[in-house]
Amino acid sequence: MMIEFRLDPRTGVAPYLQIAQQVKNALRLDFLQVGDQLPTVKEVVGSIAINPNTVLKAYRELEREGLVQGRPGIGTFIVKGIAGPPPNAHLALRRSLMRWLKSANDAGLDAEGVAALFESAMRDSIEEETA
């Protein structure tokens, strides 16, 4: 098997999204590549004891995004990688985030307030994406 999955019940992220994210992370980090086969539904449920429909849903989501392709009777294969951001992107994003953190600090938000705001904005943005 090329990849194994792990579910974290405390994140509040739906299990099928966790699986899809783990595949995407593996693509970003390049330990899954075009042509690789994802584990079969039976292999996944036999290893992490989840409902088979959860795995199917995750694979369908990845297929919808054009990253994998299901070949009936054979399996699900990676057909597209995820190019990471250009090397300078992280740095630039970090700089603008630092500026934002400073303005939050100036506005009187403490670390907990920042974390709560960030989390709720993340949730909204994920909901917008999936809507």
Partner: protein
């Protein structure tokens, strides 16, 4: 899609006590259904009615489109594992399989033996000398060897340690993935159920409290936290409510959008939902939040 299990107005009385009252429920094929409720709620009675082991007092049970009781062909398509994992203690695992092969028309002993080998259950041991986890695996393997279309499991996880629970659910989910078996599984262990079940049937005091596919149920319920209010638009039903004179926390079913920005809205887990519906409802009913439509 056709129904694996259909209850209409199912009621069961023991003497003067109603163990089940007017339960109406449809389970589509291919679902893995959690049957949840406190001790004595009627879970076992319901499973026995579905397995054809008990006749309803009133109402109707249909399994795979047919009435279970006198129909031997139908019984061969139903698997049932009772709460105490019944095995003959002086029989070896291999002998239990021989017995199963002789008593059932449909029997796939090879796949079952292979499953047991993978979870390291020795086939030559007497079942009475096996650990609880191994006995559960043997009982499950025997039920799965029938290749049932509907599998009923009464509290299969209750006596198992966490590792044995995980292995049991792995075996069960593999069978679901391969054969599309419909499963009804009664349990208290909500965190385990959350991973494997996609359908919910919740009973309390013999009555159905909540039923349906879990994903939409989780989506339409929210926890609201905020200042005390008498009414909130967008709330269809207040399932549970607590708080003080100033503040309140409520688990609600929504049918619209909560626009009031004073409210913090949180997603619910299956455990939140189960506890709220099994509770006594909003306390302090004189001052409870009213549901407002629209």
């Amino acid at each position: 899609m056709s129904a694996a299990l259909e209850l209409s107005g199912l009621s069961k009385r023991y003497g003067k006590t109603w163990a089940l009252e007017d339960c109406t429920f449809t389970l589509p094929e291919g679902r893995v259904c959690a049957l949840v409720g406190p001790n004595g709620a009627g879970k076992t009675t319901m499973l026995h009615c579905a397995a054809g082991l008990l006749e309803p007092t009133t109402g109707d049970v249909r399994v795979l489109g047919r009435t279970p009781e006198p129909d031997e062909d139908l019984l061969s398509r139903i698997g049932f594992v009772a709460q105490d994992m019944p095995l003959y203690p002086s029989f070896s695992v291999e002998e239990m399989f021989e017995l199963g092969a002789r008593c059932n028309q449909r029997w796939d002993g090879d796949a079952a033996r292979e499953r047991l080998a993978r979870v390291r259950v020795p086939l030559d041991r007497k079942t009475g000398t096996l650990s609880g986890g191994q006995r559960a695996q043997v009982a499950l393997a025997l039920a799965l060897a029938k290749r049932p279309e509907l599998l009923l499991l009464d509290e299969p996880l209750a006596s198992l340690d966490p590792l044995a629970r995980r292995e049991f659910l792995q075996t069960l989910m593999e069978a679901v993935a391969m054969d599309g078996t419909t499963v009804v599984l009664s349990s208290h262990l909500v965190t385990d159920l959350e991973r494997v079940c996609d359908h919910l049937m919740m009973i309390r005091d013999g009555r159905l409290r909540l039923a349906g596919d879990i994903e939409p149920l989780l989506r339409e319920h929210k926890i609201l936290m905020g200042p005390r209010r008498d009414r909130i638009s967008g709330v269809a039903e207040v399932v549970e409510q607590r708080g003080t004179d100033r503040q309140m926390i409520a688990l609600v079913r929504l049918d619209g959008v909560v626009l009031d920005p004073m409210w913090e809205i949180r997603d619910v887990t299956l455990e939140d939902l189960v506890l709220a519906y099994l509770g006594d409802g909003p306390s302090d009913p004189g001052r409870r939040l009213e549901a407002v439509n629209g």
